[in-house]
Symmetry: C2
Subunit: 224 residues, 2 copies
């Protein structure tokens, strides 16, 4: 059951459009599980830097990864970051410019990430990344080389300081504007997974795994 929880901290409290804010974990998990693309904000050399990457979730922890030598992965473990996940669901076309809007689902998470040093935890997290996208795939892959494992940095961020915003439905026009002969409504946007495209070097007799063949119709990103 969805319940409305209180905002977790001052920085995680939605300031603009507070009526669209949600703080319940059902909404939070649904958005994060629907969209792997996230944007991570760091401060590097005194400037904000926003880098797109993939996120995945286990319980109340959000993960992302990168080259262990990258400036962002190194910087992240020493500072508070902001991770934002957004899904654009449509354009909201109103009778006035001012009442135009967009339908969307978004999550903003604040916190201090932890660089995962423990090898077992790190391997489990990387396995979870692969499995969250393509269940059963991890064991079918060529095992990780030690140098690959070392070259990969994994960050974990508690979801305790997260907020969601959701807008859906029709435009909301000024009462008197509904008398105007102006079309208004929604231009919906949907993301769709296409048919898996094997590369040209899959060996004869190797079938498309079920988790990949069924991906476009599967449970992942059902909300995308």
């Amino acid at each position: 059951m969805t319940h409305q929880a209180p905002p977790p901290s001052p920085q995680a409290t939605v300031k603009r459009g507070a009526k669209r804010a949600k703080y319940d974990t059902d909404t939070l998990y649904a958005i994060l599980d629907a969209m792997p693309l996230c944007h991570v904000g760091y401060i590097i050399d005194g400037r904000p830097v926003v880098i797109p990457t993939l996120q995945w979730r286990e319980g109340d922890t959000l993960y992302w990864h990168g080259a262990s030598t990258s400036r962002t992965i190194a910087a992240a473990a020493e500072q508070d970051v902001c991770v934002t996940v957004s899904i654009l669901d449509g354009l909201v076309i109103a009778r006035s410019a001012f009442n135009h809007s967009v339908n969307y689902r978004s999550v903003v998470v604040h916190g201090r990430p932890r660089l995962i040093d423990d090898p077992e935890h790190k391997e489990a997290a990387l396995k979870a990344m692969i499995e969250s996208l393509t269940p059963g795939r991890w064991d079918a892959l060529r095992p990780m080389h030690a140098k690959e494992f070392k070259a990969t940095g994994v960050l974990a961020l508690d979801l305790s300081d997260a907020s969601c915003k959701v807008r859906s439905g029709s435009p909301v026009d000024d009462a008197e504007d509904y008398d105007l002969p102006i079309w208004a409504g929604v231009l919906p946007l949907r993301s769709q997974w296409g048919t898996p495209e094997p590369d040209g070097r899959v060996l004869p007799g190797v079938e498309t795994p079920e988790a990949i063949a069924s991906f476009p119709q599967g449970p992942m990103f059902r909300g995308l």
Copy 2:
């Protein structure tokens, strides 16, 4: 013609995956014009804050807007920001976990935005936002009220300090991994605009404007 230009500044130079970096304006404009959703990184109270919003472009200037009283619009005009636009084009499924990747197009812009004070410039920018999405729409709308105009803050950011990254195509596996009986390829992702959905209060006899009716098949977001 696309040409490879030099990176514009140290902070706009791609650090990771430099072979995927592009600095030509054709690539830059194509990505910005394909995806209105952007993520703006600010520093507020010493922390990075990443807020999703819509961007639009006129020539070498990127614009976004917000409530003129919002902390982000106020903060943006007094600091360097980072605006990132990302399009996820697919999951790249390799023969090893390490060689997994994603296909994507992204832009990162650094710079100090200007709050547009001049009323004519501000109105022209807001008109350009509406027209970039739905050509011909501005003149059909109920004109802006003075208080709406005042309540809207518009920011402009030069595109002089921008970089793009693009990945497309098949996975790139280690040479010896191609001998393994493991499926590899791409799971393509495409965004599609659906049929326009009028709200329940469009007056009888009001037709769907051509720019809206043709939107799903139109030139906008052709690259989305």
